[in-house]
């Protein structure tokens, strides 16, 4: 009886999580930050590990993969869910390998070689049963959770290394990471922030009000004025939705224009992104949401015109890695050309396709 209860309870939780994900994507903008999503996903995966029925690592990985596929299908644009699933899979592999006794140093030394020849080394199919595997995996997931909770603080701690006084910093839209970053620097330094409002949802307004409450000199500019104002900007600091495997970004729309303008004026472009946003995808298909667009624009047109017009409202932009100067993440600063290495440390090549 209790086992069945636990199972139904688990599936209920999974279902509610999935429905929340679906709803989050169809609302206007994101109702919850990526950090929250990552934490909830990891907690759910821990629960699955604890409560689902499995006897060896292979079974567990199958279960998690299945649930992961369902979750990513519910809302493909929220990539943090898939990333967390892949992290957990890698944790399981590591714990299994440790239980078996094989070391990982060999892995790291030959990782470039392994990258090129991956596919040939699927050693075994994880069928051995280990008594303490469950406990070890849950402990490792707990470590992951603590890491997730500290990401924003870790990033903000690096703020003073990158911002000097009397700077003019430009940002776009609303990113909680960048907000914390700038607020932390504002405690010790005085600088000026320009926020591009990012139509049509205008998240920049919220960002500006929140920053100005901390006594940071803030200015809201419309998207059209980004290039006009860029010549006076010293740094561009942005957040992103996803960091792609090649070092590029999938960020809120308007970021590509911002990056091009920064490149034209040789202004450094700094991306504050925690590690859980790193995704092994390389595709850059932007997601459309025309429904939101019609709701947010006032209906001065009249239906006669609207019926003859195509309106587009992409939500994300792809920014190629050559426009980016620096990534600041919870493990420090990195160049875009280094992202592929970080990825190989976080995810196993076989998990790239869930």
């Amino acid at each position: 009886m209790p086992g069945a209860d636990k199972e139904t309870d688990l599936s209920e939780r999974i279902e509610s999580f999935l429905s929340e994900l679906k709803r989050c994507g169809s609302g206007a903008g994101s109702l919850r930050g990526s950090a929250e999503t990552a934490r909830e996903t990891t907690a759910l995966l821990r629960r699955i590990t604890a409560q689902a029925r499995w006897s060896n690592a292979g079974d567990l990985m199958e279960i998690i993969r299945k649930e992961g596929r369902r979750m990513t299908a519910a809302q493909p644009s929220v990539t943090t869910v898939g990333n967390m699933v892949r992290r957990v899979l890698k944790i399981i592999r590591e714990e299994y390998a440790r239980s078996r006794g094989s070391t990982e140093e060999a892995d790291q030394q030959e990782s470039l070689h392994k990258l090129l020849t991956s596919g040939g080394s699927s050693e075994d199919n994880f069928r051995q049963h280990f008594a303490h595997l469950k406990a070890n995996v849950i402990e490792a997931i707990n470590e992951l959770l603590t890491e997730l909770e500290g990401t924003t603080d870790n990033i903000s701690m690096q703020a003073l290394e990158h911002i000097h006084s009397n700077e003019v910093i430009m940002t776009i839209g609303r990113s909680r990471t960048v907000e914390a970053f700038l607020k932390d620097a504002a405690r010790k330094r005085k600088f000026h922030v320009m926020v591009a409002e990012c139509a049509p949802f205008c998240q920049g307004h919220e960002m500006a009000t929140s920053l100005s409450k901390e006594d940071i000199e803030t200015t809201v500019i419309p998207d059209a004025a980004i290039f006009a104002v860029m010549s006076r900007v010293n740094k561009v600091i942005i957040g992103t939705q996803t960091v792609l495997a090649n070092g590029g970004l999938r960020a809120v729309n308007g970021t590509h224009t911002l990056a091009l303008a920064a490149k034209h004026h040789s202004t450094p472009l700094i991306v504050c992104a925690p590690m859980f946003k790193l995704s092994p995808q390389v595709s850059d298909t932007p997601k459309l949401s025309t429904k939101n667009f019609e709701n947010t624009t006032t209906n001065r047109f009249g239906n006669l015109i609207l019926s003859k017009v195509n309106a587009h409202c992409p939500v994300f932009d792809y920014v190629p890695p050559e426009l980016i100067t620096l990534f600041i993440s919870n493990i420090g600063g990195n160049a875009p050309s280094y992202i592929y290495r970080l990825m190989s440390e976080l995810y196993h090549p076989e998990d790239h396709e869930l």
Binding site: H192, T209, T218, I221, F227, N253, R300, F301, I305, V309
Partner: protein
Amino acid sequence: MADSDGRQVDSINNATDEDVKLQEIVLAKNEGKELTKEEKQRLRKEKKQHKKSKKDDKGPPEKEKVKEKASVPVPSKPATQSPAHKAAPVPVNASASESPAAAEKPAKSKAELRAERRARQDSDRASKQGKKEVGQQSASSKPKATPNELQPVVKRLPEHVQVDDPAALKKLAKKLERQQVPLRSDYGYKVSLFSHLHQYSRKNPPTQQISIPATVIHPSIVRLGLQYSQGIIAGSNARSVALLHAFKQVIQDYSTPPNEELSRDLVNKLSPYISFLSQCRPLSASMGNAIKYIKKEISNIPSQCKEEEAKGELQACIDSYINEKIILASEAISKYAIEKISNGDVILVYGCSSLVNHILCKAFEKQRKFRVIVVDSRPRLEGRETLRRLVKKGIRCTYVLISALSYILPEVSKVFLGAHALLANGYVMSRVGTSQIALVAKAYNVPVLVCCETYKFCERVQTDSFVSNELDDPDDLIVTRNGKTHLENWQTVKSLGLLNLVYDVTPPDFVDLVITDLGMIPCTSVPVVLRVKNVDQ
């Protein structure tokens, strides 16, 4: 000491004599009636006397200049204040910059008077270490260089980019008071980078400070000013045409007062109107050129011309200007531009440019097959007007906001942009966002074509969008999303500013071709066209 007493007694005597008259004048001024020249002079004298008696150590040179100005019987155009206010080393330049303003006037007598005055001033200034002269002029908003003379001309800084200079502001206030034009006050917190520009609120138009009916400013000008400040008339061509029509009405209703010449008096009449309009909204480059043309035409009227004839001639001039420079020019530009549109093209346009709309409609009539992508931006959202016009014609359109530019640009084959003005160093001054479009189009290797009539060519040079720009009402950026208006109380937050720029400049390396009524030229050939135009005139 005795001297000052004597002066004070003198002034008191004067006061008792002219007190009544003075009060009458002040009454008349408060009622908004136009003062005659004598009344204005008397007012000035009174004020000056007051000042003299109050502050003895105020630099006499200024007083004497004012007195001399008041005592000169020749009607003084506002431009003639310049010899009074220019710095010492620039008397030659003053005459040089005077000459375009008073082009082919019968200037002999005036020049002699001026020379006398200047000699007196120089001697006075040499004797007393006068206070520093602010070498600026708060005349019409566009400085005019003399392209035909190679003397070093000191360009007069326009007033509307000197808002952070209290001396310039005081000068403007004095000038507006003299012209009986209301002074508009700035609104809201200005971003520090733009503290040298005005920022007005649309909710306080300057027409509120005028009594209706006003006899100082012609009612059609008042209406025009209101239309400008509320944004009802917007767009470079529309504003110029509206201005010219209003001036036609003014000329129609004008009657020469006795003992005055039409050619000089009418220009003086226009000056307060121009000040009023620039208080409503800073003048555009096209409007500045139109005003220069009108002033030149007026001052070219021979003095023996009868009034009706002169008025008719002026109206014909204005009509021909509109016809030539705007209507026919757009026909010529369309002809050139249609050659550049091929079947199957996907054309991107930004905002609302009357010229580009005209080109697209004409091309559609000539059976070219193309579709249009209209890019729009907050807060003006002018692209909707373009969309309405094009869809009415039957052209297939797509609509995006400017943040979606990199998404939509891979589909585009050409970009057509309109311009507000073309500057002498090849930069294109246009609605804010144009430079962004040109930048991203360049990154995707899409050709950028700018369409601009030659009457918008301007002799200013500019390299960035900061030094000379226009700040629109900051409240326009406030918007409600999801039921929440985050910026509602932005005035209460000390460190929050809203920036609503109107124009920006596009560097010439982003622009591939400029289509004008003289042909298709590269961006860098603008000064050549300017030179050719000035030689013609």
